[in-house]
């Protein structure tokens, strides 16, 4: 058990260092996060050891828990200390979000107006809220999961359906070309 904990701490430290440059967490706080993630991962592994089916090396399966713990703890950190407002609608962010060229002003204006219409007319209230939070307000998906007391899978599915609807609406109105690459 001590050896496993040691491996988990090493993996957690590696993961927080890997993600560190993009986080507003440094020094001792980052080190604490790694230790907490390793401790919580060890608990999770102990509880789920019977679920290990030998499909991979044991360490790979175990490291998965520590990576998820680091993800979850970073999500909780940003939920408590948001870098951006978690509500409101900043439609002016969209051109930068998608790298629109200011020189193509007319095309940009038309496409974004069509997108905004589709968001208002095609999406359910929940799809709209998730789209606005993630795309307009740049709220990380894991933070939105905490805010809405939901799951990553559920929020991803809501956003997936919203993306599909919006693309279909823009395609139907001639703003994007049909998606024929992987239709089933």
């Amino acid at each position: 058990m001590a050896r496993l904990h040691e491996l988990l701490v090493r993996a957690a430290r590696g993961e927080v260092r890997r993600r560190g440059p993009r986080l507003r967490i440094t020094g001792p706080e980052l080190e604490d996060l790694a230790y907490q993630a390793a401790a919580d991962a060890l608990l999770a592994i102990t509880g789920k050891i019977g679920q290990f089916r030998g499909e991979s090396r044991f360490t790979t399966w175990a490291y998965k828990f520590v990576i998820f713990e680091v993800s979850a703890k970073i999500g909780r950190h940003f939920w408590r200390h948001p870098a951006v407002p978690l509500d409101g609608e900043d439609w002016d962010r969209l051109p930068d979000r998608f790298g629109f060229d200011p020189a193509q002003e007319a095309e940009r204006r038309d496409l974004l107006a069509a997108l905004r219409r589709a968001v208002d007319e095609e999406l359910t209230p929940r799809q709209r809220a998730v789209f606005v939070a993630i795309v307009l307000n740049d709220v990380p998906l894991d933070v939105l999961v905490l805010q809405l007391a939901s799951s990553r899978n559920a929020i991803y599915k809501v956003l997936f359906d919203a993306r599909r609807k919006l693309r279909a609406a823009l395609d139907a109105n001639g703003y994007l070309s049909p998606d024929t690459s992987r239709q089933t």
Binding site: L7, R10, A11, G14, E15, R18, R19, E55, S56, R57, T59, T60, W61, Y63, K64, V66, I67, F68, V70, S71, P95, F98, G99, F100, D101, Q104, E107, R108, L111, L115, V135, P140, L141, D142, S151, R152, N153, Y156, K157, F160, R163, R164, L166, R167, L170, L176, S177, D179, S181, R182, Q183, T184
Partner: protein
């Protein structure tokens, strides 16, 4: 990539996408295939589709792959 292209890429969905719950279940298996240089994308196209579309799962994939590769060094 221009703005319309980037928006198009973001809105494009792949019906094979397995979703986060399945990706979480399979991540360790998929990562070992990738680390071993096996054609993981061909074997699990739904996983590949999901990991390229879902930021958080993609990040977890990169993290687990880095951990496995670090262990092998």
């Amino acid at each position: 990539m221009t703005g319309p292209d980037e928006l198009d890429r973001f809105l494009r969905t792949d019906p094979r996408d397995v979703g986060c719950a399945r990706a979480v279940d399979m991540l360790h298996v998929y990562v070992e295939l990738v680390a071993a240089g096996e054609p993981a994308e061909q074997r699990y196209p739904g996983m590949a589709a999901h990991l390229s579309a879902c930021g958080p799962c993609g990040e977890d994939f990169e993290g687990l792959l880095a951990a496995v590769r670090g262990q092998d060094r």
